[in-house]
Symmetry: C4
Subunit: 120 residues, 4 copies
């Protein structure tokens, strides 16, 4: 049983430049792999003023979730304060959600949306 | 008339460790059963560093909603401060939404997303 | 051209009891009718501990949007501080989103989700 | 490869009249064009008490994202403090998300939802 889709798109990426209090402003991609196989992800990052960064790779073990911070990636540095978007490809169907914590001002704010599944 | 899907996935689960003010940081699964039969749910919880907890059971009467707090489950204790994901199975089609209230800092923050329906 | 679906479900309804500052805690159903006909809506409200309120009627003129506050309905009074869900039926396809403003604490918080379209 | 849909609907548009602190209350439409062609968008704005504004045009280059503020459009002025909705048409499939930052009160709040794809 492998549930979801192999391609997901996330549009409103933005890591705030500033933080206040103990928690840092950040974004996360939340992925769930309900299958008994590992899921090998390949993530691309799109920008407004430059070409994409492609091929950031991440593995999700069987029956595990992963909350991946986009400011702590291995193999790519996403600049803060700049709009970006993401395309998440996976070797098997998974499901993807995207969330932001903004601590620019002293009271944190959260937002979240399920990513958009591309069904080819 | 039974509306929705029998399987729903929720990705960005996280119950904050801290709370301030009169309201406690928490998450809820909101379910609607518009049919004239009861819906028997079976919920699984997935984590990053351990295997899943499966088979937490909940019943929704006909033509009722249920807002189920994930820190007040019978039969499972979800740790605070740890990323988790959920898979909600139902005996008949229902619809599922997931929300978080974060009161870590003195002004609360809310986020919500419709869960992802799996159509097998 | 009539876009969307004829039936929409909203799960996480909750009108906070308290408000602070100039803005009142409230929820709204946001509807868009892109067609050249009027859309006649019939809204039902579901609860945890009692049966549903059915048949609250609202009209959306052609090529108009409506942001309907659920604490200012004609023909139904939704209690504050109680979880509820909604089923929005329409004479022609429309699209429905649901949002909450919570001003319980001195800094307001917002959350929103597109409703779930039932495709019979 | 052109991913998404050619028509998207956004319901809960509202640009708050007031702002506090360094960040202005605003909304943005976030679009991703993963294809190797440019996407030509045509955006319509719907209101409660007047007819729509149609035909605001925007171009997204190949493999780029765009975060378009609705208070900084060329060719249309969306009033603050008034509910509105949007219909985004595109020459090729794209994906669209909508977000609001509300800084009416001293702590900002965010909300976001994927737009609704119309599949004709």
């Amino acid at each position: 049983m492998s549930e979801g889709a192999r391609t997901w798109l996330i549009l409103d990426g933005f890591i705030p430049e500033e933080s206040s209090g103990p928690q840092e402003s950040h974004e996360a991609i939340c992925v769930l792999n309900t299958s008994e196989e590992e899921a090998r992800l390949s993530i691309s990052f799109y920008f407004e003023e430059r070409g994409p960064i492609k091929g950031v790779e991440v593995v999700i073990p069987p029956e595990r979730t992963l909350h991946l911070r986009t400011d702590q990636l291995e193999g790519a540095e996403i600049p803060r304060g700049v709009p970006y978007a993401m395309r998440v490809g996976s070797s098997i169907p998974v499901v993807v959600q995207h969330s932001r914590m903004d601590t620019t001002q002293p009271a944190l704010s959260l937002m979240t949306a399920m990513a958009y599944p591309v069904t080819l």
